[in-house]
Symmetry: D4
Subunit: 230 residues, 8 copies
């Protein structure tokens, strides 16, 4: 493909103008998954419209970080939308029977980190993966993690979700030879600074093979895991 | 493999005690690449000893963020060590003829980001990859990046290195469907806060598929790219 | 004009003392637009009084960042006051028929940034400008922005509003030859730090011609655009 | 111009590949001024090469934040390059006889802020402007500023450079009806936090019409002033 | 007085043990004003008890930063307690007829800063001062401040209360020869960082004679003004 | 004990899998006290389940930072659970008659710090200690502290809880020869930055023998005091 | 004095234009002390010129934060200039025989804080005060401070200089009934954050009557003490 | 002992006035160890004087964070002073034959953390302890730590020194039942923020029993360990 062809392709990418949003219908083709809707700052009506338009051309839609009541508005336009209360996400999935790839493992440091871990797992599942979970394996009791060594070593990519001191990804990465996606959470108080402490811990990991997403960005961690697991 | 077997294996991992360091000779087997030596805070003598011990059992050794003069001390013990002045790294490579995997592309936003980009590229090359580079493609002249669209779309993983506002990874990620590893640099001044501004930009990327390593951590970006490209 | 004359003029600037505020009736003459009322921290009664006094001598009044219910209190004193729910502003405009200057374009990175973009557009419109808008053109899908190149290149000043990583102004500025006013928003979470990440991105723009206003300061961006477009 | 034409134009923008840099020869046409070279992080040899290539197609070249000794390397390739010791900049100007536009005034709060103020003034002059300067007019002695009221009121755009508490732009903006570009400097100590205090002051200006550039970014302030003064 | 005498005096300072508080009845003698009660974090019952105990030995009591409803609880024990809704303070004053010293002037930058300015003024009044106020004299319209020059120059100490960019104390201090107490407020948004921007501005004042109290600490500013005005 | 034995022991530590949590029943043996439940981020149902499971094998259970209403859910499964409203903790204690060790003294700087001081005291008591308390002994009236010198000097470890400027631990440590555990609290406003100011004060203590726990971490301070007092 | 008269006075304040500085000869009359020269960021030549011009009309000149070698340049123009190596200041004092006011006491927490304490004491002395000093009285050994109680209680204003945890001003303020000026220093390491920790401690003082100047601003503390002691 | 007796004792604590320092000769009796000299900010002459005076009454003296050349100045006054190059400390020890207590173990995460670990170990040794060391046991290779389990479990207190992500203390604390003193170091780069990242990690430890000292404060960690081990 020449540069001219690539640019021509880019110039002609279709999107649908809603006024408050430009729906990128082509993204599923270009990037392998349709546009994902980040919920906060959008009205329920705006979310419902975008879901409806996306669902008209894609078999899967994901809305993150929304409350249960947003589902009611969405369902009026897209009746098969579903709400996932722990992950706080809405999905439309019209390809539930597609086969799933194995290889992704999602860990959480504590119980309070589970919502973000579930957001990651749900995203990766919607993108066609079988996801293995193990929660509450934080470093204060490292034997709980060691107990998972055999399963850990079979993963092709690990998502490690942790708040407070955020040390889980470093310890995990030292035990495996695959990429570890570190997802800090805002769980904690005082000097956790809303998750900044965990974020900094993860960025400074002395174990190579760790990369980091934004605080509470379970979606981003799951999405990246799915890209790596392809 | 049972949990007991895994733990027994872990318990019996060999390491060599140097007093000031514990050499993890087993890491090449366990993680696919030998222990990497982070230079700062170690004396040239300590570095030389560690390189010598590692090189006694591994075919490749990497020391990051060291000055040229450190090489002299290392060469006394390991004569085939080499210095890479732009990447500021020492390598020993006794497997230069091994075949290299394609798939990694390293971009830099500006000229001043090249040392970190080269640290990433050198790491990935030492780990057995063919690395494609394109430097000075920052977002202030987006046509320079668009000109690389066809090559970009053939990569299996992209490392995007940028200082100042650090916007390159977001723009790149919107154009490709593979993982983008964002490596912020400390290039900039004033409100760049030693690279924190670029780091925050990358963590907040509105384009999914981006993950981030520490500021100036070219090594970490290259290492992760190699893991993903396996 | 001599220094003495200028100072004498300054010394005799009229203002009206309300106790809790000093109304600067002269500002429309001196600065080309009457004093603008920043809503937060003032009671509805204080706002209503100030609007009434300003409206007694000026044909236009603007109150920013207020709720709908504030309008009721204001309307008791100034019946032709209007509320703009998206921009969260109250206006009085008794010069609606005045001709409007073209030249200002307001862009938003995402849907959630629209309230601040609208605050900017509304301010510029009230100051006598025709404002062109294009929303949801963030850098994650740069083709949506490229699609506006011809319109962008006709603008005399661009206001680029964006939260999260805030990369929009840099990319826009690289495509045009006019001033770009960057307005960061508090849209985002975690490491967006309430908009600080977007703010820092914009301050570190590697593209010349960008200047920045406070986080969520749509008013300031629109006001400055109007000054530049005169 | 249609979108297709604009994109075609963008796709075909010429740049020259130097390996460590991509020279954007077209920028003078597209943005009205050639690419400007930010000195830090580049070797003197790299700077000299870029200056030479730019000077082959443009009549003006600007390098910012470099030491005097960099000039020697540059002069070997471009003998008519000049060094400006206070502004710490190198220029090539082969259009010195072109007429200059009036309208820009550059102020500094203190003596120590002059290098940044001169960087701003030099940039604007190179871009074809006549620049009026007044230095050491900080708010601790507001009469020194009031003494310039008549000249201030004739400016079409004001650049206000200040470190420490950075209050100058707010006070100036309250006295004029034109855009004020606030350039914070790193002058100060302790809680000035390397210029962050001045930057925050300027971003929080209660006077509309102020926008801000990065700390010590005299170039950016002068460039923007020139764009506005066109 | 010898060291032994001083220590003996210190050792025998009476206080009353309430379990949750130790009432320092001696403070009025030692420091010239009784202990002041900082409201937040205490229950209404605790506040009422402390007020009652203090009022048993002192003629004046001050409680800061409390809601109106706290007064009801206090009044049950101390019926002559009064609430000041703007300053959000409770006072008991059984020495209202005492003569008051002139010399303190309290300024506010804007309308929204008035609650903190009133907290300062109320404190100084309770400590026996006549307080002159002038509100909404911020630097965006410096003529409003200049209009008060003669009164300003008669003050013996000035309290300057300001949020947002917090430039008022610097400008005031340049016009007078007496101490200026700078009281930053949390008024503002975005990069005001809850008042930190104003605080930093004031700490970096280039005008000598300014000292600073905590954000929103109107009480501290008024107390210090009273000490200086003695 | 050999390394193999230690690891074998670690490998076989029992825990109970609840899905959302892994109950570490062995911790009371290994660490001398059962796992403690940090309340925030867990549902009342999750907390109740964990308490029930822990109480099935341990004689003491502690839940920190929970509201009174959480007790109702817990009591359904564990009827002898108790709520401590000031410390905001739930405890189960089936070994109330065990003898208690003396030696721990808990101080608070002010009345508003008492909840954290009580969390510390309660934790230490549950772990088998007799705790001496003295509250409201902050440095603004150092005589209140001096009055406790004899009791202070009998302590084997002191917990000093303070918000605002957090100077109490330094002063205390200068008076005793035992470890001082400094517990900063979030009491304060403005530049207290949610307790960061007190935390930094304590970390920078010029008096040796002070160590610090997280802001508002009364539990951690009490736990450590109990470990030291064994 | 009327407003017109005051403004006329302000308008006609004489200053001398040096190009790089505007000498405010009138400040000694207006503010009671001539302009003070902050050394950093000025060349020795600029400092010498300003000293010479100030000394032509004032009997006292102060330059702060300069090295010994700056004195040589200054002495060429003003032979009676003196250097104070501990305070790192240059003074000219042609009124050494004037009587001095008692009432100012300067304390330092440690030995390393003495340079800032001396800068404060020197400033106050130059402004006509007798200054009492006591150094190394930090809170780690509070008996050293208590030993000064009688002298402390005779002061009319206290300057308390301290780095590290910066607790000295709070403790002092609790012992006296006069204003305490808190001067934080950058003495410390790690979490002292260049003096920010001490600064925050002082701003959060729970003892009323404390106000704060910038980190290492001994001059500002001494100047303010002199204003208060008038 | 009554309060009066305690205060009398405090009032009469002897100290020796050197002008720049007040030597607290009594501290060895009061706190069990003589005053320790923090080197930075003191001249070599000041340090030598203080060492000489302390050594005149105490058998042990410790100076921290000094260069080798400081020793020369000290030796002129105290010939038996010794320098410890890794710990960067000077000691005088005239009680070398005293028996030493076992129970303290000092760990370091990496090789670059050893200087701080040695500062801790040296301090504890000087205070009469036998110290067991194990260096380079960071969490990236947790098997190196597990290999020390039997020795770890015999310690009465553990000092865990680590830079970068600082996760070592949490993992260690989960394996032992004794106090863990966490000492963060400034080892790292970029987002390690000079050790703040490690400090925050340690403060947020999810494992109870951990307390934290200042960044690079090896002395403080060793001192506290000695107090606990008494």
């Amino acid at each position: 493909m020449s540069v001219d062809e690539a640019l021509a392709q880019l110039a002609n990418l279709p999107y649908e103008e809603l006024g408050f949003a430009k729906i990128d219908h082509h993204r599923a083709l270009r990037r392998g998954f349709p546009e994902v809707i980040f919920g906060p700052g959008k009205t329920a009506e705006q979310i419902a419209s975008i879901v409806e338009r996306l669902a008209s051309s894609a078999s899967k839609v994901l809305v993150t970080k929304v409350d249960q009541e947003c589902l009611n508005t969405v369902k009026r336009l897209v009746p098969d939308a579903e709400y996932h209360p722990i992950a706080r996400a809405i999905t439309v999935n019209r390809a539930k029977d597609a086969p799933r790839r194995r290889g992704i493992m999602v860990l959480s440091g504590g119980t309070a980190d589970i919502p973000i871990a579930e957001e990651a797992a749900l995203t990766a599942e919607l993108m066609g993966n079988e996801v293995e979970r193990s929660y509450d394996v934080g470093v204060a009791g490292v034997h709980r993690l060691l107990d998972h060594l055999p399963r850990l070593r079979q993963a092709k990519v690990v998502v490690a979700v942790a708040g407070m001191e955020g040390a889980l990804p470093s310890v995990v990465s030292g035990l495996v030879s695959v990429p570890v996606i570190a997802a800090p959470t805002s769980v904690g108080y005082g000097a956790s600074l809303g998750g900044l402490a965990a974020l900094l811990t993860m960025l400074n990991s002395c174990s190579a093979g760790v990369s980091v997403v934004n605080i509470d960005n379970g979606f981003g961690a799951g999405y990246l895991a799915a890209l790596i697991n392809r």
